[in-house]
Symmetry: C2
């Protein structure tokens, strides 16, 4: 879309043309464009949008732009916005507001909207209930396809998705019908004859990530969410599923880099928040690393006699850490995508063992050769090469074991990634290295 | 679904009941279940499936099960399978086969199927063309809604998705119509009056990850793919987009852990492949780490006089590495999700600078206190604390700079993650530490 054109029209106050242009545009693009506008242009553009488009644009606005709009709007205008939003978007919007304002606003919105919103507000943050939409289309089994299509015509306009419709017998879900089936069947056909009674569903309390994975696994556009009684209370749509999967992935990466997970964009997060998210793990890891340090001091006599030994410490520590985090990364990701189960543990350990055989020999050989050429010291070459082999072996074992152990005791495997693994493997590497060295050189 | 029941029915050879049961089941579940069957049960179950269901099940089978089936089937049976598959699934299947067999089979499949397959086979692996479906529904602008619905009834059954239909004027795309619009409009309405002429689209040569992100950004179920002339040649559907996004995330993680990206499941990858994917980066990083080592040797005199200095090396190296990889992880992810642009560079550097001020002071204070209490050496505490501050500062700077630099020179930012950053930061840490130390202690 053409931002210059919009600014131009705003400057010349040609609102009719602007309106004409905006209705042809995609809500996502309009929302994106609005972040470039100053406060009163922002309000002008928003007020120019048609009711439905306005709601959709609002749902795509960044929280910063939303707050700018809210500052300009009076409460009755805000209430109008909320009335137009889909319940789940409204909840998403309200959850970013001070509680007292929320209650103020909710008192003024339409009764049915308030009911939907209050229902949604009760679900915990990471559950299917918290990401579901309460707008969906219900049929009864004795409706004809014609009646069904007419119902869609009547209520469809308000539904976020009409492509899967739900057949209920007093609120209990008994089957689903896809819009495709409706379009492909004759008008006289009865819903009960085309509805599928085997379908994938979720419960309000299910973990939202599991639900997202279900939608992905079964290539579903939407999936019904049932309460304890088996009554349908909402649906989760594919677009929300994609967002959940991407968010979870980002949070996993943050945990794997020893940070507290945070789903706010990098630039929108304050310096203090960033520092808060990072410093705790850094402190923990820093103090754990001092263990390795104190072990080194126990070998002071060794490197007082042979200072050259110290110069291989970084190489051993880094190699150990890298080997360990390679394994842990694959395992953590495998667990996250349900590709690896706990029952695979021994299969995995055996695999990692054979892999580390190959890898460690390659590294040991390359490094031993280097030492022979540069330091011309066979014994030293042997010491370092042996240390590499042992370190890599242990690193891979630790790297594949800890994430699975974490999973087993219901911890997030993602915390058993590079930083943690490195710190642990370092200690092993130092012990192995100096004990081999002191033995070989009789230090 | 009930696997025991299926095995039971297979054992007792109650194929009619088995067939009855299978048609009610979801293709994804059937495909999953088939991996538990032995070869001839596998073939029996597959031959029991209805034509369409069989094609769908086959598209969900793991390559191992596919190959087991192919071994049992004769060529004419395989050809039947290919004829039933959607062109993109067929290509996906054939791409895993020896070229000579592919040509053999393609000679035997129906002419139109062969044409579609050959068209798809020409697109590069990472392009929109390689993941698009060639089955979609075309209208002309003067069709009525009634005619359109009738066309869907006629051809819809063969289309992977019918929810977005495409309006063409001799193969050139001029608009799109959603099934929702069709269902909500009166039968006499003309397509040209309800079609949207502003729509999101892709070109066959576009990067498939960008297309997937587009589908996510605009919450699209499908998106049209155009050739150079603006003719529609296929569509990319949301389910393929989700899979592309998850695969790309996994590959990013692998690269960030210093491995060659590999989209095969962990357990399905051979020991040799695993070793191959890991050893190259390990070698590179190992030799880079020896630079740090050789720098240490230049300070031998320092720790010959003060061996205690050596014991702080692991803590400094790990802390520097962790700080650097925290920053690089956030930047890499931000770049991957288009949340960070190169133009933000200075904003980011300034932010990271302020963050590292806070973080480094906290770490330096904690550590200095520890040394005062344990080693009772003020000078040592100052040396180590100063080194921490400087190391953290540099680590954060390196951590946010390298990924963006990589992006700028068209390298994958993901390789500038923990392992690489750690190795680089280690060198700085050692230099800073020993120069401060030798200066303070006049070594």
């Amino acid at each position: 879309m053409n931002v210059e054109k919009i600014i131009e029209l705003l400057k010349n106050n040609e609102l009719k043309e602007l309106h004409e242009y905006l209705i042809t545009q995609n809500s996502v693009d309009i929302a994106e464009m609005m972040s470039d506008l100053d406060d009163n242009h922002l309000a002008v553009v928003y007020r120019l949008l048609e009711k439905e488009q306005a709601a959709s644009v609002f749902s795509y606005l960044e929280s910063e732009e939303r707050n700018r709009l809210i500052k300009i709007f009076n409460n009755s205008e805000i209430v109008k916005v909320i009335n137009e939003l889909y319940a789940d978007d409204a909840v998403d919007f309200l959850s970013g507001m001070p509680a007292n304002l929320v209650t103020q606003l909710l008192d003024k919105v339409d009764a049915d909207v308030r009911k939907d919103i209050n229902n949604l507000l009760q679900y915990k943050d990471d559950t299917a209930g918290s990401i579901m939409t309460v707008e969906f289309i219900e049929f009864t089994e004795n409706m004809s396809v014609k009646q069904a299509l007419d119902k869609i015509k009547r209520v469809g306009i308000d539904s976020e998705t009409v492509y899967t419709c739900y057949v209920v017998d007093n609120r209990k879900l008994i089957g689903i019908v896809s819009a495709k089936n409706l379009m492909l069947s004759d008008y006289e056909t009865l819903i009960k004859d085309i509805m599928k009674t085997e379908y994938v569903f979720a419960h309000t309390s299910d973990d939202k990530e599991d639900i997202a994975k279900k939608l992905q696994k079964y290539d579903l556009i939407a999936l019904p969410v049932l309460d304890e009684e088996g009554c349908i209370v909402g649906i989760v749509t594919f677009d929300d599923a994609i967002d959940v999967l991407t968010k979870e992935m980002t949070e996993d990466m943050q945990k794997m880099a020893a940070m507290t997970a945070n789903d706010k964009p990098y630039l929108a997060t304050s310096v203090w928040e960033h520092a808060k998210n990072r410093v705790l793990w850094l402190l923990i890891l820093m103090f754990s690393a001092t263990i390795t340090g104190s072990i080194i001091s126990q070998y002071e006599h060794a490197f007082e006699i042979m200072p050259i030994l110290v110069s291989f410490i970084p190489m051993l520590m880094d190699t150990g850490g890298n080997c360990g985090s390679q394994s842990s990364t694959l395992i953590i990701r495998g667990l996250a995508t349900d590709e690896i189960k706990f029952s695979d543990y021994f299969k995995i350990v055996f695999k990692e063992f054979r892999i580390s055989m190959i890898v460690s020999l390659a590294l040991a050989f390359a490094n031993g050769l280097r030492i022979l050429l540069i330091n011309k010291d066979v014994k030293l070459a042997i010491v370092v090469s042996l240390s590499i082999v042992a370190t890599v072996m242990i690193a891979k074992l630790v790297g594949c074991t800890l994430p699975m152990a974490a999973k087993k005791i219901k911890l997030d495997p993602a915390i058993m990634a590079a930083p943690m693994i490195t710190t642990i493997v370092d200690t092993f590497a130092i012990i192995i290295y100096f004990s081999i060295a002191s033995h070989m050189f009789h230090l």
